[in-house]
């Protein structure tokens, strides 16, 4: 695979397409500087002086960031220049706040978070370097689905940790397989929907106002989604359950354009949530908390975690108390993971929080952009799925800790303490780097002589990917979608009309 799609050097384009790698380098360094400044700021606020290890910390993060940048520069030079800097920024800010909370709780989680960051970046580099063509993943769609289910099932046989069976604990290390499973599921959904979108969209029976697809088309994906959700449900990991569902519906909609399913899905999930919320004690208590976050105070039992979180956000106000000068540690348990956003809210204020959410928004938008630019349905759905995953998780967590929706016990991507989450999100960004590279890569040099006749299968002088394409799974579906996708409103050189011919060698 790697050999046949050897990228950049091969078709050296005469037209200079900007790679924006220098922009990325600048932004990465800026992100590292912001994090180092934040680290120093925490020390100044708490001890009145810059922490002694600021330089070591900044250099550590900087080296990781530069290595990641080098990998991108070497193997994905057309990748979106914002993805890596934003990831570095979020990871760095997370480290700053974890260090800040370390100071308040007399613990030392920041060093291990730095180690996890290093592992995450190494995996990022690995994906960027070795996954030269993300479409390889498509081939192993069912393997990914199987892995996702297995990963999620394992903890069910292990003792529950903190009320939820979502952890694998090995010695001092704990690992949340659901986090990794979400990427595997995204890959599966993308691959399946890319292959079957026409069948799903165009065939089926109309029942009342809803057009349902044929069972054999919807079946496998529904089964796998139901299976994963069921497992998560049994493990009481409703947050992951929710974002899996959200991702499933969004990808289904993007792939098929059928709005009706979203409505049906929302009704179904609404019913399910209502039933679970009413009858399942663990979830019910979260619903009660959500509706009455201050109830425990009125009952004379002091402020609960949600109330403490709201107090923290409120204390931040518009401008925040300043890094290191808040009291979010009053939230107590999980203040560095589930509740880490409250520290941002308190110490950086609404202004800082808005900036942070906008960083996520830009990351999501960039993921979507890569997806929309890509002509390959799998890549497109994968980018969109991963970006949606990020958006949904940010929403579910932030809305939970600010009392907009019931709490789910998930963690803020990149920010929160926790190895599996951090590593997973670095892999997620690595995949987006790969898809964005493919999306932004310039088209093959325009063929100098106009083609004599519209060739059905134009033979090109160098056509290495052709044989590979022949044994690729979604070949059929791509052919079948051709008539429809040709009507896409885009008229650029990468128009859908050229998809068949250009998309293949492009990657």
């Amino acid at each position: 695979m790697a050999a046949v799609t050897a990228p950049a050097p091969g078709p050296a384009s005469p037209q200079r397409v900007p790679t924006r790698r220098t922009t990325e380098l600048g932004l990465v360094l800026l992100a590292v500087l912001i994090a180092a400044f934040g680290y120093a700021d925490v020390g100044c606020a708490i001890d009145g002086r810059v922490p002694a290890d600021t330089a070591r910390y900044g250099i550590g993060l900087g080296v990781l960031a530069l290595l990641a940048h080098a990998a991108v520069r070497w193997r994905a030079r057309y990748a979106d220049p914002l993805l890596l800097p934003l990831a570095v920024l979020l990871n760095g800010l997370g480290l700053v706040v974890i260090y800040r909370l370390d100071r308040a709780t007399a613990t030392a989680s920041a060093p291990s978070q730095l180690v996890w960051s290093a592992i995450g970046v190494v995996l990022f580099i690995g994906v960027v370097l070795f996954l030269r063509d993300y479409r390889v993943l498509q081939r192993y769609a069912y393997v990914f689905a199987f892995c996702a289910i297995v990963l999620m099932v394992i903890p069910a046989f292990l003792p529950a940790v903190y009320g939820a069976k979502i952890w694998i604990k090995v010695g001092p290390l704990s690992f949340q397989p659901g986090e990794v499973a979400k990427i595997a599921l995204a890959v599966f959904f993308a691959a399946y929907l890319a292959a079957n979108r026409d069948a799903l969209a165009l065939t089926g029976r109309r029942i009342w106002v809803v057009e349902l697809p044929r069972g054999r088309d919807l079946g496998p994906i529904l089964v796998i989604w139901l299976l994963s959700s069921g497992v998560l449900f049994l493990e009481q990991d409703l947050g992951t359950c929710l974002i899996f569902f959200g991702m499933f519906v969004m990808m289904l909609y993007v792939a098929t354009g059928r709005t009706g399913w979203i409505a049906v899905g929302l009704v179904l999930v609404g019913l399910a949530v209502a039933v679970v919320g009413l009858f399942e004690p663990h979830v019910h208590s979260r619903f009660v908390d959500w509706l009455h976050p201050l109830a425990s105070i009125e009952a004379g039992q002091g402020a609960g975690q949600l109330a403490q979180s709201l107090f923290a956000f409120a204390a931040g106000g518009l401008l925040g108390t300043g890094l290191g000068q808040g009291h979010s540690y009053l939230i107590g348990f999980a203040v560095k993971s589930d509740w880490i956003l409250a520290t941002f809210g308190e110490e950086l204020g609404l202004v800082g929080l808005a900036a942070l959410l906008l960083v996520y928004a830009v990351l999501v938008v960039r993921g979507y952009r890569s997806g929309i630019m890509l002509q390959d349905p799998f890549g497109r759905l994968l980018s969109i799925g991963l970006a949606s995953l990020l958006a949904l998780q940010v929403f579910v967590v932030a809305a939970g800790v600010t009392d907009l929706i019931p709490l789910t016990g998930m963690t803020m991507p990149f920010l929160a303490q926790g190895g599996s989450s951090l590593v997973t999100n670095w892999i997620l960004v690595a995949l987006l780097i790969r898809t964005s590279h493919a999306a932004r890569r310039p088209a093959l040099p325009p063929v100098p002589p106009p083609p004599p006749a519209p060739p059905i299968r134009p033979a090109r002088p160098s056509q290495p990917p052709e044989p590979e394409q022949s044994h690729q799974e979604p070949q059929k579906s791509q052919q079948s979608q051709e008539p429809h996708s040709s009507s896409e409103p885009r008229t650029s050189p990468e128009d859908d009309g050229g998809e068949q011919t250009q998309a293949v060698p492009k990657v």
């Binding site: 165009l202 600010t402 429809h484």
Partner: protein
């Protein structure tokens, strides 16, 4: 199928094959992306709601510890007596960064009150809390700049009017006895001493934790109520010291012609609506038709009871209130409980008893010191004040002291007559224990009956003022009450127990 008909016309040509209108991938992707952005917009709106719209409610929630944490994040400003701090702050290294300390806790507890992380703030620590904790808006230089820099404003200082020597004399004079002292500078209303015994160390309950809780419950369990501020917050029947007020009313209303004119009063005196006679403590005293001067000297109940009845309820109430009785909300700025002269008595007997400081008549030591001060200040009563000035931590004043007149209960003529009578009490009468060589001292003793049928131990009172010379202004008026008098004879006990304490306080002021 598609609800977005307008945009999807283009595709209908191809899609018609399957009988459904299908949106293109990029179009649905854009919509899904917009949905994701909508989610984040929702988050921003909700964060604005929590952080801006509803933040005040969350900030003020009693379960929110932040206000308390902020309050103790910096040293508290000090309360000063005579330019010297009687309070302090100590770094704890615990949850709360600083805790209050007191240099002479029991001595100044009736002035400072306490500032406790567990039990709140009282007295000056309470009413001046905004200044001491640095939250008072007068302390901030530029409010807007401070809001941006968030530099904490250091706590300001509260300078009291207390005279350290007078306070020490009062505290030492009371000793182990239960009682209180209030001393005032008559010309200005400055409070020079506020003592209450037994006292307590506010520092013992300043912090948090089990030791604080234990100290608190021990203090509350004691029958002697060490945390009760007897000078400001406890009223006692003023007994014979109230005769100053009655004499003022009689002289002002012209019920008697002068202090040396014999009064028309029997001994014993039986008010018209009762058969129970009012008698004098000592049958040996010649109280029948006695002059006012003599009646004051030996403290004739019969004379003053009869005078009260002669003045009438309206006149007595008017005079008592002119001296400060029945004030609903007296603040110095610490709140003082109102002293009472009954305004709805039915009949002569009760009025007669009220006029000799019994029945429902009740006064704080501060109130009786005000009576003494009005006499000493030639009839003008100044508002008593405890705070001399309030400054920022760097000493810049934000609030000064201006003497304020409360009223003119008696004319200078009447005041002069009263001074003569009170000096006579100290020179020739029941108050000889208050005499200070070289100074002019006027006083009035009192022993108030206590409890039903005089069952409780009586309260020994002494109200006095002192002048360095007959023509000088008086620098000090004082009231002393001692609860656990063992004596049974009326005026002698007031003179015996309370007068020496008053003398010590006055001497401390006179000697500077």
């Amino acid at each position: 199928m598609s609800p977005f008909g307008r945009g999807s016309r283009r595709e209908s040509r191809d899609a018609s094959v399957a009988g459904a209108v299908r949106l293109s991938l990029s179009r649905t992707a854009r919509r899904a992306g917009l949905f994701c952005l909508l989610l984040i917009l929702l988050l921003l709106i909700n964060c604005s709601r929590v952080q801006v719209v509803r933040s005040k409610g969350y900030d003020d929630n009693p379960a929110n510890q932040r206000a308390t944490l902020a309050r103790y994040a910096q040293p508290r400003g000090d309360i000063l007596v005579g330019g010297r701090a009687v309070t302090g702050s100590r770094a704890t290294g615990g949850t709360f960064d600083y805790v209050r300390t007191y240099t002479a806790g029991p001595l100044y507890a009736p002035v400072t009150g306490f500032s406790s992380q567990t039990y709140g703030n009282t007295l000056l620590e309470g009413v001046e809390d905004g200044v001491l904790s640095g939250t008072d808006s007068r302390l901030a230089g530029f409010a807007l700049l401070n809001a941006i820099t968030r530099d904490p404003v250091p706590g300001g200082k509260v300078l009291t009017t207390i005279n350290a020597k007078a306070q020490q004399a009062a505290f030492a004079g009371l000793g182990g006895k239960r009682g209180a002292v209030a001393a005032i500078e008559p010309a200005t209303g400055r409070i020079l001493a506020l003592a209450s015994t037994p006292s307590f160390d506010p520092g013992s309950i300043a912090g948090t934790g089990s030791a604080t809780v234990a100290a608190w419950s021990a203090l509350n369990a004691r029958a002697t109520q060490p945390m009760l501020n007897r000078a400001l917050r406890q009223t006692y029947p003023p007994g014979s010291t109230f005769k100053i007020v009655t004499a003022s009313a009689a002289l002002t209303d012209g019920v008697v012609d002068g202090i040396d004119t014999p009064t028309d009063s029997p001994d014993p005196y039986t008010p018209s609506d009762t058969t129970t006679p009012i008698t004098n403590e000592s049958a040996a005293d010649a109280c029948q038709n006695a002059t006012l001067r003599y009646a004051m000297q030996v403290s004739c109940n019969t004379v003053f009871a009869k005078l009260g009845d002669d003045v009438g309820e309206a006149g007595m109430v008017r005079m008592a209130q002119a001296f400060g009785f029945n004030q609903s909300a007296q603040t110095i700025p610490v709140g003082v409980v109102p002293s009472v002269f009954d305004t709805s008595m039915t009949g002569q007997a009760f009025l007669a008893l009220s006029s000799i400081g019994q029945y429902n008549t009740a006064a704080t030591p501060l109130q009786m010191a005000e009576v003494g001060a009005a006499v000493a200040d030639n009839g003008t009563l100044m508002q008593p004040q405890l705070v001399a000035s309030v400054t920022r931590s760097d000493g810049r004043q934000v609030q000064g002291f201006t003497p304020r007149t409360f009223g003119q209960p008696i004319s200078p003529t009447v005041a002069a007559e009263l001074q003569q009578m009170m000096v006579n009490v100290v020179t020739n009468g029941t108050g000889t224990n208050a005499a200070i060589p070289g100074a002019v001292v006027g006083g009035k003793t009192g022993t108030a009956q206590n409890g039903v049928n005089n069952s409780g131990t009586p309260y020994a009172w002494f109200v006095a003022y002192a002048k360095p010379s007959p023509t000088a202004a008086s620098p000090v008026a004082v009231a002393v009450v001692i609860e656990d008098s063992n004596a049974t004879r009326a005026d002698v006990s007031g003179g015996g127990l309370a007068a020496p304490v008053a003398r010590a306080v006055m001497q401390a002021v006179l000697n500077g």
